[in-house]
Amino acid sequence: MALHGMRGLSIFISDIRNCQNKEQERLRVDKELGNIRNRFKKEKGLTPYDKKKYVWKMLYIYMLGYDVDFGHMEAVSLISAPKYPEKQVGYIVTSCLLNENHDFLRLAINTVRNDIIGRNETSQCLALTLVGNIGGREFAESLAPDVQKLILSSSCRPLVRKKAALCLLRLFRKNPDVVNVEGWADRMAQLLDERDLGVLTASMSLLVSLVSNNHEAYWTCLPKCVKILERLARNQDVPQEYTYYGIPSPWLQVKTMRALQYFPTVEDPNTRRTLFEVLQRILMGTDVVKNVNKNNASHAVLFEALALVMHLDAEKEMMSQCVALLGKFIAVREPNIRYLGLENMTRMLIVADVQEIIKRHQAQIITSLKDPDISICRRALDLLYGMCDVTNAKDIVEELLQYLSSADFTMREELSLKAAILAEKFAPDLSWYVDVILQLIEKAGDFISDDIWFRVVQFVTNNDDLQPYAAAKAKEYLDKPAVHEKMVKVCAYILGEYSHLLARRPGFSPKEIFSIIHEKLPTVRTTAIPILLSAYAKILMHTQPPDQVLKNQIWAIFTKYESCIDAEIQQRAVEYFALSRKGADLMDILAEMPKFPERQSSLIKKAEDAEGDTAEQSAIKLRAQQQPSNALVVSDHHPANGAPPPISVGHLTVVKAPNVNDTEDHNSTEQAPSQENGNISKVDPQTPSADLLSDLLGPLAIEGPPGAAVQYEHNAAPGLDGGPDAVDGLAIVPVAVETNTIQPIVNIAERFRALCLKDSGVLYEDSYIQIGIKAEWRAHHGRLVLFLGNKNTSPLISVQALILPPAHLKMELSLVPDTIPPRAQVQCPLEVVNLQPSRDIAVLEFSYMFETNMVNVKLPLPAVLNKFLQPISVSAEEFFPQWRSLAGPPLKLQEVVRGVRPMALPEMANLLHSFGLMISQGLDPNPNNLVASTTFSSDKTRGMLCLVRIETDPADRTQLRMTLASGDPTLTFELKEFIKEQLVSIPTVHQAAPPAVPAAPPTPPIPSNDPAALLAGLLS
């Protein structure tokens, strides 16, 4: 046994262990630190052994949680000791005591480098370990080339090379520029041929990091990864020592599959087939076994395989296998597997269209929500949140409400926020929504953010028919004995505004309402009092005919608060008192709150801290999608009309009851109901918030640089302006040049085309940013979410997004933050309303700055005509009367189209289907004709049935005749043109791509008896 201890160290540790209490321990530690400090001071008599012993003691003390603010130098200096034992201790203690930002570390760079390039293998290992664990940017810049050499060196043993590979990974994370993509891609591929599994595992970790940053450069690695996976999972060809409980290196399998998830697809059919065979084997061949470790290891592989299948969006068959497996997992007792089952189901919701199947497990998931394990509850909550839609919202929200009272305290805030969001998003009727929110406040008042009650006030204000109901409910809640302060606030507000609507009901006389509110006044804190005062003022105003007793009562309260120490309360009291003596004028000033501008939910915003920025970009995020648990990262929204909501200042605050109170309440301007509501007040429009400021100034800021840059480019050459201009010119010209240097790494037109057919994917990507899109369409409404992901370790600044909508679309983009933090992703929802049929395309003008690079791109948005089509099947009985009734132009249009891309009939049917047209089989007796139907939704037409008939000529597939009918002439025309565009060539945007050459495989003409007759209209 090689346990040669150090006596001094052991004694010290025993002493610490024998301490009776924390105080004794502290004394012992202080004594030891004093001793060490003294010994280090008179360094003369210190043997290497002593030094070693003392730095170990320091580390031990440090580990116990005490500050050790000296002796770092001694630890670092041991690194350059000539003998191995000291050197080893120096390296290990340094890498534990210091972090990458520590100044002393800089002193060691040279020694470390010498050890790395030196010939001594053991020193190389120590040095690589230190750099791999705590190396920072400076290390990255000075050591990366040496480390790269070691990885590839044929004279180095595996133990050095694997450390070098992971060391490079660390340096790459600190500064991605240290790995030169062109030079390294081939070597990386070469590294994957490695036979030593230690080196291979390390190399695979490196690859995962590299491909997460840039998958295209490493495409040659893809087939190799598949081969490795095949070797491990299928052939089980690994040395015995690399199997873990009989499984060939589960870690390497997991990493390999992780790397594969960063490649968008596997194109080569052979590779793809092999990969799917392996995946199939993993999915089907993983059994539950008794041994925990074997079980864990095999399921680690299985869950990674699941993730890969989801990513590759495999044939539906495999996807349904995955869902079935997950369904099994969420029902097992074993908590780890259940946890992962729930988590992966949530992920699957995002990537695949499986909502309906997952809904079948709703009861099971709700059981997990009530699990005693909070980790599992969280996953179940995420999943319920993700799978909720109009059909199950009522059930899910009610479950959440019910669970709220028994839930763990740490979960209640998230739980109530999610319940509130779901209630708002999917409310079958608004009174239900009001019920839910009031119940939430009742059950979890402490965990409800102000946003939630602001939001319910907005809804009530904007919906006249909801107001009496809300007032009745508010009274019901206030009548209860112990009422939470937030409940008092919201109820007082609602009753103040709307209780007069119910004044005829018993119990709703102004007097009674006043007394139930006033009863609560002693129970609330000062922050709630201003709302109560406003309510009193409003009640007073609504008391018709005036009630002298009530008036005196309320005046007495105002008078009482006239000398309140709280300025807000005092001001309100004074002003309300003065106003209420003005008689009729009061009516104008205290009139009912105006409607709030329609806007998006204020709730859907940051609910949790965004994940740490140290995180590597995950495969899922790269696909521009996010788990619902993190999905609440949405910026503030601003009013639809873009008018700056004026802040209320001075005496006019009286009109807007909760306003000042809100700002004071939580010191922020976000989402206070009245702030956006202030449009009608005649106050100086000051810009109230930073958000708004950036919103207003943003466009200027962004338009400035490009314009200026261009000008300077012209002016710079003469350079005669002199003075500061010349300097600026010099500084800016490179910027202008760099504007063009950043090229998208995706084909924008191609991405657009792809997104016209599907609802999520990448819209744009360059080396700094990735813009993903996810869309949901419902009738003539659409909700797109733009995912702006910063791929770098520095922030992107001056981010601007401007929508240029065509006339037929109403589009509203939420506020885009000016800065995107490193490695962060922000979501910007975009609401679309289709007003009328048109083929025009909306454009997103997007720009940002990265360091000195200005990037400005125009991106067509896939909010195209076919997104508003909903396939509908029509029977012959329905079709023919419709078809006949829509007789002739402009409702029915016919055109012979030439130059059609030749395609077989099934292919054409598929194409039409992909655009949302339902092919009706057998309606047209002629097999060469297609009849299709669809509904188109717009604000103007609502849902309108469209009928299509296409007659083809099997002898000449380049021409056909098309007949379109609908109840709206514009729709008929636009849809006809739209389909024509799809048939004539590969659809292009703005003629960006050249008209496609008909490259489809030549289809052999189908012999037919009477081609001419086929074109004759049968049904007209």
Binding site: S10, K83, I92, P239, W251, S375, I620
Partner: protein, 161 residues
């Protein structure tokens, strides 16, 4: 990646810490205090994963010791759980049925072993045999140096310094 490794005893005493992401001393103390609270209070039959500030902590209890590793949200939890077990098996083989006391008095050994197992927050070596071989080689290097130091000539050299 693994952001840090933490070994805490049932009483909340720290037995080993290793940080792969930069945390200041203050943050380190805070993390240990917070996580200790979260993990030690969890019952025995719950899952091995805990959400923690946008990260995940995978932990497992072995006798009186909790082994914890903090990873990213999207990392593979079970894989990390088995890294923990792999580490424990290596410790066990090295110390000969390891117990908490072994790790207390030989915490430096645990660091040597951990440095052969993990690097840059990633698994470095998945073969127990290889790790054992490397640690043995290091031990013998230290042993040789010690023998040299205690040889007569060295003692004389030391004495006359």
């Amino acid at each position: 990646m693994i952001h840090f490794v933490l070994l805490i005893s049932r009483q909340g005493k720290v037995r080993l810490t290793k940080w792969y992401s930069p945390y200041s001393q203050k943050e380190r103390t805070k993390v240990i205090r917070e996580l200790g609270g979260v993990i030690l209070s969890r019952g025995p039959k719950l899952c091995n994963f805990v959400d923690w500030r946008g990260f995940k902590v995978v932990y497992k209890r072995y006798a009186s010791l909790y082994f914890c590793m903090c990873i990213d949200q999207d990392d593979n939890e079970l894989e990390v759980l088995e890294i923990i077990h792999h580490f424990v098996e290596i410790l066990d083989r090295y110390f000969g049925s390891v117990c908490e006391l072994d790790l207390i008095f030989n915490f430096h050994k645990a660091y040597y072993i951990l440095d052969e197992l993990l690097l840059a927050g990633e698994l470095q070596e998945s073969s127990k045999k290889t790790v054992a071989r490397l640690i043995a080689a290091q031990d013998s290097l230290v042993e040789t140096a010690k023998e040299q130091a205690s040889s007569i000539s060295n003692i004389i050299a030391q004495a006359t310094k």
